[in-house]
Symmetry: C2
Subunit: 340 residues, 2 copies
């Protein structure tokens, strides 16, 4: 109905050229920092830019340069997990830091629904970004396929099972889960259970595998409580269920700190003391770990480091320095505190 609003037209390089009495080329050379611009031309141009309020059009520049100096940060999360998982924020900040150093703009794209998924795919393939960091992709995620066919430089944080020839950054979930379980056993616990989550992702499945391997003969499948999300409430519910099945439980490995915090609450409600009656260990070393009373013993996940490493990999691919897909594993120290 209504015609386009009569917004003021923006100043272009032509306006500046007319105002400063030079040609477009000279302005372009000044702005792109190529040199070969006389002092007087420089001053005239700078004055003209201020006068007409000129700002270069990112869009036009992107079109002719065939690159945007922007990298996408794709978050694909169901509502609740995005809010509960403190790692994502850390990963994001780490990636932003690395991109910022190379003067790249990070654009964070959130996928909440299938509709979002399509739109984001269109954007990514439409030359909107020079590359992308993808976090928490699931098995058979449409985005994974899009990234493969589009040939866009990409690095995944974590690796969905259907990754082919694409770079990823992660931690050794299996080894670190095995290690912390072993340390829990070394405190003398005899009946140790696990709250496992997100078994459709590598992180979840590998943590369970590490737990199983550490227990060896002593592994009892009845002591594993699988849940969907790494959330506080699921942790509390799983812990209650576990206590009902095995009242003699004296140790628990929770697949994330949020789960452990929920479990801690359920244990307290059930009258169990931590660590006296039950030893509890978590995973991530997120804010949860220090916030709990007692503070959690946990595997330190270098979240910011993961973001940085993923971003650097994408930048290297863009620059052409990294041509082969790489898998990067970061170290995971263990923070041994009071909960076990």
């Amino acid at each position: 109905m209504t015609s386009t609003p009569p917004r003021r037209k923006r100043a272009t390089v032509h306006d500046v050229a007319r105002e400063a009495g030079v040609s477009r080329g000279t302005i372009s050379r000044l702005l792109t920092g190529e040199g070969y611009v006389s002092a007087e031309a420089r001053e005239a141009i700078e004055a003209a830019i201020r006068k007409v309020g000129y700002v270069p059009s990112t869009t036009a520049r992107n079109l002719v340069r065939q690159r945007t100096n922007a990298v996408g940060f794709v978050v694909h999360e169901p509502h609740s997990l995005f809010l509960e998982d403190p790692n994502i924020g850390e990963i994001l900040l780490g990636a932003n830091e690395a991109l910022s150093e190379d003067d790249y703009q990070m654009v964070c794209l959130v996928i909440g629904s299938d509709r979002d998924s399509e739109r984001v795919a269109r954007y990514l393939r439409g030359g909107f970004v020079d590359g992308a960091v993808v976090v928490s992709a699931r098995a058979h995620d449409p985005i994974t396929a899009v990234m493969r066919t589009s040939q866009l430089p990409v690095a995944f944080v974590g690796h969905p099972p259907d990754l082919q020839g694409q770079s990823w950054v992660g931690i050794d979930n299996l080894a670190s889960a095995q290690e912390i379980t072993a340390r829990l056993l070394a405190t003398g616990r005899r009946r140790v259970g696990m709250i496992a989550a997100a078994l459709d992702r590598d992180s979840g499945a590998d943590r369970l595998a590490g737990f199983t391997r550490a227990l060896g003969d002593r592994f009892d499948p009845a002591l594993v409580a699988p849940v969907d999300l790494y959330s506080y409430s699921e942790g509390a519910a799983a812990m209650s269920a576990l206590l009902e099945r095995a009242p003699d439980l004296d140790g628990v490995f929770a697949a994330s700190d949020a789960l452990a915090a929920g479990a801690l609450d359920a244990l307290r409600r059930a009258g169990r003391r931590v660590p006296e009656d039950v030893g509890l260990v978590g995973f991530d070393d997120s804010a949860w770990a220090r916030r709990c009373t007692p503070q959690l013993s946990t595997v330190v996940q270098p979240a910011a480091g993961l973001g940085r490493a993923a971003a650097r990999s994408v930048l290297a691919q863009i620059a052409g320095d990294q041509t082969e897909p790489a898998a990067i594993l970061l170290d995971t120290p263990i923070a041994w505190r009071a909960s076990a």
Copy 2:
């Protein structure tokens, strides 16, 4: 040194035209859904698109259309607050939902440093987005000035003091702080303190003002502990300080749930029972509120609603439906639980 990597050139509309034996115009009409395309032309074009793997260039489209169908979501937060504040995640998802409904892409821009600030300003002014939602801007934030001079449709969540003629969405911090303080007093508390935060923003200052007004004659400035951030650890520290100054304290209003959670921990450590010895109320109704034991009585901040309202305002400005700057206040019910 190295020349540009020999990346495969992307297919353009010309390639499709040649392949399908039609002209560019017909393809454009099909893709933009204008109609006036015969059935046979449509089929030929669709087949050709699949064959050559054509994806429209967002950049070129944006240039000629003078719009991007994207809205920026600008987060300006120091490291720690961004991670601690659960509201931002909710606001983001609410905004994304509203934008998604109108087929707009949300691009989230994170400002972590001054360098980021400049780069983001360049992007916003460079025609990269059609509008922006800005959260948690501070007093004299450079972004506020950029938004003013650039004439870009914008809506702030919360209102920094130097807002001029720009739309914003928020809650009545003063009235709701006054209301919950009054309810706390109605439970019979006589010595009520407050943990105040972020007094350089409207939210922080207004919550303190509401508290003061509710107390009237009984207000004692010694019972106010001001801190910088809405964080758990600052809440714990402030609570300890407050108890030292006034051991006879029997009620506390914390300016956020995160602060309240920290305060709760400090109270427990000091041997005070909640709510028996001390009544505690918070603000936000974030995940913290239900997670604490006992659960917090608090002011419900409609975070997702704020995001949605801000996004809708920006969309209305883009469409030209909203020409005057508007201030939108959302309702804040009170959730009365167990902590007071």
